[in-house]
């Protein structure tokens, strides 16, 4: 089944490239996403066997990441139908600089989206660190053309920064993989496997200095991709310049995949007894990310960059949760799910706002409540969700993490955490409320697009986040607990 999971997006990508007509292509996109999602849900009931000789191996942690990715991709693909339909063919004027630009061919966009899904599936479905690396590199290469969909100067600048910084980061992660092999090097063995199961069996012969160096390299390398500060410089540019559904996927799914890479390295550390070392580093990077994000969210004038920095903050919270350990890991897993859904919803909504107001500035986009009421309601709900206010799911997860922090005695960490959350809440509320209230600017003409494709997926995602805040079903708690257990125990 796992090979089918990989094959569906790849085959659909090839098909999308070959087709000339737009409507069948969009149909293929949505049906591939739906098939992928249903298979993922089916895998909860029927555990899949390993494929390719142990290369593809779905453990509870990977399954959680895979489900989140698949759900978000389904929502984004439904949104994409309406988005691509509304896109102007041919050249038009850029609203910020006035230069003429055109879009990339829709074939390439759709094909790259599907290859992107395949690469993320590979990352989630494998416990082999080498294959995971190949998957993460694949996501970088597949998402670069996606960011460059609107072919103007700013998106090109963002694409180049993204491509170069992430490639260098992933090269560092490869160095970490090699250092890991050296740490587990056994001259008597015939081959060095990078599979977690084999590494767990050889945990006794691991050489600590090499392991520590390997973890640092992997943390920094995948941390670049994840958006941990101070390696997050590409994130605001790439997330603000790419089409909204791509931003949703980048923030909601790609950052998670990079986090999975770090988690696998953390598992190795747990298995070899270096748990405290890796946890310390994760706490440090988590706190730095939160503080950096706070500094840039306050007074931010561009609402898409605002969302991007919010992603940096939440990635910091995720790193912090694993770094604190214990009960916080469960909170971290719940936070992962809720953040992906909420951030995905927010980015999709921001796409609607951009389509009407033609500006990314928080000051110029005003009066949403009058011009696009449904979108405005979703925007406010999304802000409340992402800032961690009840009754949404992020409140529950952040509270769980805080409780575990205090229980373990990390009072300083808890104070910094709470301070950042508070400042970010206030900092985000100012632009969001300013955008929602007030009269619509006279320059804004045209009707807002609020059809099914534009508001349907965000509504569903928002509903899910709300539900998770009010009520956690038993199956979900079990899935989250299993995933957390994998992180805590190591295997």
């Amino acid at each position: 089944m796992l090979s089918i999971l990989l094959l569906i997006p790849l085959a659909s990508a090839a098909l999308a490239l070959a087709l000339a007509a737009d409507t069948p292509r969009r149909l293929i996109l949505v049906s591939a996403a739906a098939a992928h999602f249903s298979l993922t849900i089916l895998a909860f009931a029927v555990p899949p066997e390993t494929a390719f000789g142990g290369l593809l191996d779905l453990d509870p942690l990977g399954h959680l990441f895979l489900s989140v990715t698949s759900l978000l991709f389904l929502a984004a693909s439904v949104y994409a139908v309406g988005y691509l339909r509304a896109e102007v063919k041919g050249q038009r004027r850029d609203f910020q600089e006035g230069a003429a630009f055109s879009n990339a061919p829709e074939r390439i966009f759709t094909a790259c989206l599907l290859v992107f899904l395949a690469a993320m599936t590979l990352v989630a479905c494998t416990r082999n660190l080498g294959a995971l690396w190949v998957g993460v590199e694949g996501t970088t290469l597949a998402s670069a053309p996606l960011i460059y969909f609107h072919r103007h100067r700013r998106s090109l600048e963002a694409t180049w920064k993204y491509l170069l910084i992430c490639s260098v980061g992933i090269a560092l992660a490869l160095l970490g993989n090699i250092l890991l092999s050296v740490a587990f090097y056994d001259p008597a063995a015939s081959s060095t496997s990078m599979n977690l199961v084999d590494l767990a069996a050889k945990a006794g012969i691991a050489r600590a200095p090499w392991l520590k160096a390997a973890f640092i390299c992997i943390l920094v390398g995948y941390g670049v991709k994840m958006g941990l500060a101070p390696m997050h410089n590409w994130l605001p540019d790439a997330h603000s310049q790419s089409p909204s559904l791509v931003s949703a996927l980048l923030s909601g799914a790609l950052l998670n995949c990079a986090f999975l890479g770090i988690l696998r390295a953390h598992q190795v550390c747990v298995l070899t007894g270096l748990e405290s070392f890796s946890q310390e580093l994760l706490v440090v990077f988590g706190l730095i990310s939160m503080v950096t994000a706070t500094a840039f969210i306050v007074g931010q004038g561009d609402y898409k960059r605002l969302l991007a920095y919010s992603s940096v903050e939440h990635m910091g919270i995720l790193a912090l949760s694993v770094g604190v350990g214990g009960g916080a890991v469960f909170g971290g897993m719940l936070h992962l799910v809720c953040h992906s859904l909420a951030k995905g919803m927010l980015f999709l909504v921001s796409g609607n706002i951009l389509a009407l107001y033609h500006t990314r500035s928080c000051y110029d986009a005003r009066g949403m409540a009058r011009a696009m009421p449904v979108t405005a309601a979703l925007w406010t709900a999304g802000f409340l969700a992402i800032a961690g206010s009840p009754p949404f799911g992020l409140f529950v997860s952040e509270l769980t993490i805080l409780t575990a922090m205090i229980r373990q005695g990390g009072l300083v960490i808890a104070c910094v955490y709470l301070a950042c959350l508070a400042v970010i809440f206030v900092g985000m509320s100012v632009p969001v409320l300013r955008m929602v209230q007030g009269p619509t600017p006279p320059a804004v003409t045209g009707k807002a697009r609020e059809d099914f494709f534009a508001v349907g997926p965000p509504l569903v995602l928002a509903g899910l986040v709300l539900t998770l805040g009010l009520f956690l079903p038993e199956t979900l708690i079990r899935i989250l607990a299993q995933a957390a257990g994998v992180v805590i125990r190591g295997l």
């Binding site: 694409t159 250092l179 050296v182 200095p209 931010q300």
Partner: protein
């Protein structure tokens, strides 16, 4: 001179190519230096020689084909298409870059003394040479404003990492090295396309002109 004794001169030649990468400013010369590095690295998996199994020979051939032939050809084609001839001043001058490269060499020699190396794993001078190549690549990416030079820096860093992993490839994971090579190849291909677009849009490949996106 036995074949094993050939390894150390190869590593020293690699370190010299790194120095040359840091001080050269002409992009054509940089591309040829990358071809030379690729040729040197193609022989790296063969050491220490204990008979040459077939899959290793295939790996060496693949490395040579990709790193010494395909990459320089890709980069030269991009260079020709963009027809860049103006000199773009880097952030760090040539003297400081060379000093930084030598600093990297010193650091890697010091690190080799600190880390307990498993005996018989690394041929002598492999660890410092690989680490120096990685440092050279990173210095090129960070301090150069020419987009093509940044890609060359990325390739140099990948070369260093490949050299690091070469002794481990003897233990049967040659296919992984091949997949890494393929990934890097596709990456450079995509970067080449991006550089072409940058040249068309900005009329230069000077990355210093990227100043619109900031807070």
């Amino acid at each position: 001179m036995t074949v094993a004794a050939l390894f150390e001169p190869l590593m020293i030649a690699l370190i010299l190519t790194n120095l040359a990468l840091l001080v050269t400013s002409r992009t054509g010369v940089l591309i040829r230096l990358m071809a030379l590095q690729g040729a040197i690295l193609a022989f790296a998996p063969l050491f220490p020689p204990a008979g040459v199994p077939t899959h290793l020979a295939l790996l060496c051939l693949a490395v040579f084909a990709i790193k010494a032939v395909a990459f320089p050809r890709l980069l030269s084609r991009t260079l020709r298409r963009i027809d860049a001839d103006s000199r773009i001043e880097p952030y760090l001058g040539e003297g400081l870059s060379a000093a930084a490269g030598i600093g990297g060499l010193l650091f890697s020699l010091w690190l080799e003394g600190r880390l307990p190396v498993p005996p018989g794993l690394f041929a002598p001078l492999l660890f410092p040479a690989a680490l120096t190549t990685i440092f050279t690549g990173l210095i090129l990416v960070v301090t150069r404003k020419n987009a093509l030079t940044q890609v060359i820096g990325y390739l140099a860093a990948e070369n260093g990492i490949f050299l690091f992993g070469a002794p481990l490839s003897r233990q049967g994971s040659a296919w992984l090295e091949l997949s890494i090579l393929l990934d890097v190849f596709v990456g450079v291909f995509v970067m080449g396309i991006a550089i072409h677009h940058i040249n068309k849009t900005f009329e230069s490949i000077d990355v210093g002109r990227f100043c619109t996106l900031r807070d």
